[in-house]
Symmetry: C2
Amino acid sequence: MALNYAKRMNNIRASEIRELLKLTQRPEVISFAGGLPAPELFPVEEFKRVAEEVLDEKGTAALQYGPTEGYLPLREKIVERMKKVKVDLESDNILITNGSQQGLDFSARIFINPGDVIICESPSYLGAINAFKAYEPRFVEVETDDEGMIMEDLEKALKENENVKFIYVIPDFQNPSGKTWSLERRKGLVELANKYNVAIIEDNPYGELRFEGEILPAVKHFDTEGRVIFLGTFSKIFCPGLRLGWVAADKEVLNKYVLVKQGADLQSSTISQMEVAKFLEVYDIEEHIEKLKKVYKKRKDLMIKTMEEEFPEGIKFTNPEGGLFTWVVLPKHINARKLAEKALEKNVAFVPGGSFFPNGGNENTFRMNYSNMDEERIVEGIKRLASVLKEALQ
Amino acid sequence: MALNYAKRMNNIRASEIRELLKLTQRPEVISFAGGLPAPELFPVEEFKRVAEEVLDEKGTAALQYGPTEGYLPLREKIVERMKKVKVDLESDNILITNGSQQGLDFSARIFINPGDVIICESPSYLGAINAFKAYEPRFVEVETDDEGMIMEDLEKALKENENVKFIYVIPDFQNPSGKTWSLERRKGLVELANKYNVAIIEDNPYGELRFEGEILPAVKHFDTEGRVIFLGTFSKIFCPGLRLGWVAADKEVLNKYVLVKQGADLQSSTISQMEVAKFLEVYDIEEHIEKLKKVYKKRKDLMIKTMEEEFPEGIKFTNPEGGLFTWVVLPKHINARKLAEKALEKNVAFVPGGSFFPNGGNENTFRMNYSNMDEERIVEGIKRLASVLKEALQ
């Protein structure tokens, strides 16, 4: 028996990360593959208290249906918190979603007809690429340097392609490259979007996890025409298991997201929204974020230092100022997928970089996560990886 | 500034129910409009206990990412519970979703190319119609009598239309009509789906809320070829605020749903899944369902009795054996949308029936919910409604 599926299903494949993660769940594997926060830093006791208070104070409402847009006090808290990235909005500009992943899916659903163009960074986030593919777009990748997309290349892409619907960017500590856009390029991005009348999807899960220096204004801060759609999430600064994120956009644009949310799943969990709102009310999340940053910075510094010491010559990697990932570039002739198999034999895992390029190629790259392993495992894992690399480079 | 949206956005409108519900939130309104369970029956204290235990026993895992398919112990519990409707599956056949609404959205995404045909009951569930519309299908409605779709009409629809992808049915206490399919028709439905090689989407949120008689085997029970996709939910037998439902399907088919779930939002809430699994472990949900049924039956009986006593001649309504809704048919010349405005002036609300017909018409119908109002308000609301009806029929 073979049912007739829709054409779009031909484009949808299992995420390589998800499949790889299944292999790496054996406890003996040192995994730099996922993008998981450190679970030992989750505020479990604090969460227990807020869960109890929510059920005591509004138990029946917490378990009942709520508005599609989301729980108003949580949307108000998000408005407050977005001032951190210099974005000034009202609660009417916020829709609560199931993580920012849902915001990615909705963005493609709202903008993309089959054959339309999405411009993205090269490389870009694998989970976004996979979500977008269901809507049958064409991807145009734009090269980045240490300050973000190269503006001349972006303008060329905008000029040479018809039906560009949006530019997708992760301006802070990008997944997978760890790179951050400069202020100047953020401004330039908005100017080009204005000139060519396209939307910008700004995906910002890591912006608040900055280890040094000042948090930069979001791209949305420079938005004068309501064309920047900001996707935020509690997954990296709080807990991913709750699946709570948000879309922040111009009211007219947000209304499209609300309509899509209605059809997609009516609303996000009422009780989870109340719990996060309560947490933000009774605890200092900034203090919690400071704790995360301290641990992640230490792990990142240790990973970079060990890589510098142990990796053979000819291998480049980024030294991110925040976020969860560093990005490794090998000599052209080395295939990171084959390398990953060899590393897994030594119980070390990472994600080969090829899947982060929607149009393929770049098989000599891989992504490393440093938030989820303790210091001992980081050192041991990098050493094992170095020996695999040395063998491959011989 | 006007951004260029995808063509599909022209089909997506705000759900009439959601918009109406906003108007009916004033406490003085007696609302028969929503499909809300009775919040006073939510097991708040029990839920507090399971929430506490989950956080005590596996706090960090509960707040971390989990598998896309869902939390295994919950999927196993669902396999057990599905024996109630005579469906025998394994946990590999179950994907956890955000309510069954997400299963509806995914079904259209997986099967529908623009222009493909969905066959549905006439009337059908408004939320499903809206979810499906985003994928630009053509709807073919099939008439129902007291035993389900009329088989001759269904076969005619299958024969006369190309690219029929699935038949969408709510076989138990249908939303909005309150009608239930007979055993014979369930069998016949599967036979026709086999003959014409189409899928069946069986949406079953109310099946367990049967006030009298035996629970009927699901349509899925008669599935010999893996073409019935069953959508279940905890919203009506437990709590809707958690947003937890499931898809039960043949493994090959389910795999498509899992791929779509990855792109859509990665996974449903880890902690909510653990809480429901824990509830099913430490409490007797059957006992809880018995409590719900008792209250809902009483409310339904009272609503029907009061309608019989108070409504003027010439108005028909169903007397459902379970579920949450009764369906009212007025004389042809009465427009229920206009009636709804008049009723709202008297602080009574219902949902006009026209939106339950994807191809329009049937404006002389409306849907009434009896689960969410207490007995006093039911009597008072029906009396007020009767006076509006009498005026309209004069």
